[in-house]
Amino acid sequence: MEEWMEMKVSLFITCLAEMFYQDVAKDVVEVLERLGCDVDFPRGQICCGQPAYNSGYRKDAQKAARQMIRSFEHSEFIVTPSGSCAAMFKEYPELFKEEPEWRKRAEALANKTYEFTQFIVNVLHIEDVGAVYPASATYHTSCHMIRLLKETDAPFRLLKNVKGLELLPLENSYDCCGFGGTFAVKMAPISEQMVDEKIRHVEASAATLLIAADNGCLMNIKGRIDRKGKPIEVKHIAQILNTRVEGRK
């Protein structure tokens, strides 16, 4: 490792992780550090603005976006444990298409943004982080990660190298879990059917652990699994990767 330049990485933790999933946030920091990154945390960061943007409130989303652009202006790499929030950063140039000055800044931000697993595999070029996690698991591909970020591979490469982890295939893995931000509440009856079908497929896979790389999906699927009292554990991929011996840090 000595001859490597230490990568300077700015963490974009996402509002959801900051409010509800600090374990995931800490795991992200620790994994990145272990892989040789110097992690900083720009303090102005809040929320990517997706809730407003996807609900049709462009102006309000722009406010959030400007704050983010300012906060990460000096970062070299931005890494976030959410494919969806990373995809939102990539949407910023579109959001400012009528403001050339902001558009330029938005493009700069978008170009240096990576989802957590994508950064490890494609920028750090590491596929084995040395994690150990004995379990039968299946992985939920989140829609924005595969379709907007077009990252279909990185999480699987990392999970394949986790010792003891058996990764089982998930039927209809390409179907959305029904989260969709405000969709989950605005269209609750439809969302409910979607998440139930997702859980049926997870059960059919025989996995006892569901892993995903997006806290939005996890909040939805875990919330429903807990409500139904199903014996399935739900974890963010950072929690799996930040293990050294038998599922412990």
Binding site: M19, K26, F41, G56, A188, I190, E197, R224
Partner: protein, 476 residues
């Protein structure tokens, strides 16, 4: 409005659909089947090379055509007329049906046969013809099933009867048409065929839609599997084709690409059983061409999209690939959309054609998973257009409470001190709701979440302070 399905409001229709568990299982397996077939004929078909290149070609052709729509419509119309056909440009659905009624009256038509067409469904043509005393016969199998089942409405743009399984079809045939056979598809089809045989021979007018019109030659191209369209267009002396004003291609070369994209995406076939190309021919020696050939070119709201962010919605070739991957359609089916255009393209197109009063909820009936945009053979950014619709909708009809909430969000998300205050205050605010390490019921909008799922308990500790001390530890 003929495009519309059902009288109930959106959520009423959704509830109705969700109750029909049987229909939903059928929909889900049909969807899996259609999706799989499409993948076999596209990304997994090595013979055709890179599917993404085909999509780019399709996108390019459609964009070019729509950007030069005036020019190509003019060319199409001139070529069609020069060969003896009659062209009518209809601004509205009513204009179109009135024109067709007049033709039918002039011909003193009693019986009309129809090939499958969504655009005639859109303008309510059957009702208009029945009004003036014509008998209308749907000859596409799926449309025939719906017609004899008391004019049931289509639930899918390619397979209009997708919501019915073979047992239901058998029962419909028994109840309405005196069928005595089993639910074997072959037997059911043979029955429908025998019922329709006579009708084909007796029809005075044959009516079709149009998959693509070729501008350079004035040709109407029909992409079908059952062969009924050929019967509809060869027996009667008078033929009428109805097309949406956007459904054309410049030349046969582009037609080739588009037919490939359509057959493969819609039904997973390299090419459909029939691709029927009809050009008016008034020469004496043409034996099977109709003596009179009318082409009705329909606007009916389409030009609303021209020159706007929705223009690319007019690139649609109605293959239903987006419908076949939509997880929302999977659970609520076609009728819940309340429009004959359902699924993602329905949610984009219906408000363009029919307005937000009628179809304003549809753009919100999506989790924005983008499966549609990924599937579309002409790369229409469907999920982005849904967001554009939401923007227009909230600007015109948004609820004050939501507007205020979003304004508060905008302020909170751009003022670090406010956000930090909220993060710190959250555990205390939510504390009364926490029971057994979880939140099972909450007030206001949270109730909609907790009606279905547990809500996560906010963190008591502060991540930023953890990070700070963590960094300090690292340095010391």
């Amino acid at each position: 409005m003929p495009m519309k399905i059902g009288e109930k409001p959106f959520f009423g229709r959704v509830d109705d659909a969700l109750e029909k568990t049987f229909m939903r299982t059928a929909m889900a397996s049909a969807q899996d089947r259609l999706r799989g077939r499409k993948l076999d004929a596209t990304v997994r078909d090595e013979q055709i090379g890179d599917w993404e290149e085909w999509r780019s070609a399709g996108e390019e052709i459609r964009r070019h055509t729509l950007e030069n729509l005036d020019y190509y419509l003019n060319q199409l119309s001139e070529n069609f007329s020069r060969k003896g056909g009659h062209v009518y440009f209809a601004d509205t659905a009513e204009d179109a049906t009135r024109y067709i009624q007049e033709v039918a009256k002039k011909k003193n038509a009693k019986k009309v046969t129809k090939a499958k067409s969504m655009v005639t469904e859109e303008i309510g043509l059957n009702e208009a013809l029945e009004e003036i005393g014509c008998q209308v016969f749907e000859t596409d199998l799926a449309e025939y099933i719906l017609q004899i089942d008391d004019h049931d409405r289509p639930s899918h743009i390619v397979v209009p009867s997708l919501h019915k399984n073979k047992e239901q079809i058998r029962d419909t045939f028994r109840d309405k048409a005196g069928y005595t056979g089993t639910e074997e598809p072959r037997e059911l089809t043979a029955f429908a065929r025998s019922q329709l045989r006579e009708v084909f021979l007796e029809a005075d007018i044959g009516i079709t839609g149009c998959n693509f019109a070729v501008a350079e030659s004035g040709t109407i191209s029909l992409v079908t599997n059952e062969g009924n369209a050929n019967m509809v267009t060869t027996y009667p002396d008078t033929q009428i084709s109805v097309m949406g004003m956007e459904r054309l291609v410049p030349t046969w070369e582009e037609l080739d690409v588009m037919v490939n994209l359509l057959s493969r995406s819609a039904v997973g076939q390299k090419i459909t059983t029939y691709v029927t190309n009809l050009t008016p021919q008034l020469e004496e020696n043409s034996v099977d061409a109709p003596k009179e050939f009318h082409l009705v070119i329909l606007d009916a709201g389409r030009s609303n999209a021209l020159g706007t962010e929705f223009q690319s919605a007019l690139h649609c070739i109605r293959c239903a690939a987006c419908v076949n991957v939509c997880p929302v359609y999977r659970h609520i089916g076609g009728h819940a959309y309340g429009s004959i255009y359902q699924g993602p393209i329905g949610a984009v197109l219906s408000p363009i054609l029919g307005g937000y009063d009628e179809y304003g909820e549809l753009p919100f009936a999506s989790s924005l998973c983008a499966a549609c945009s990924e599937a579309c053979p002409v790369r229409i950014p469907l999920h982005e257009q849904l967001i554009r619709h939401r923007e227009n909708y909230v600007a015109q009809k948004g609820k004050m409470s939501e507007k205020l909430a979003m304004k508060a969000f905008g302020i909170g998300a751009s003022t670090p001190s406010l956000f930090q205050g909220a993060v710190k205050g959250l555990p205390a605010i939510m504390k009364p709701l926490v029971k057994d390490d979880g939140i099972s019921s909450g007030p206001g909008p949270m109730k909609l979440w907790t009606a279905v799922r547990e809500f996560p308990v906010p963190e008591k500790n502060n991540f930023r302070s953890w990070f700070k001390s963590h960094k300090q530890e690292g340095e010391s």
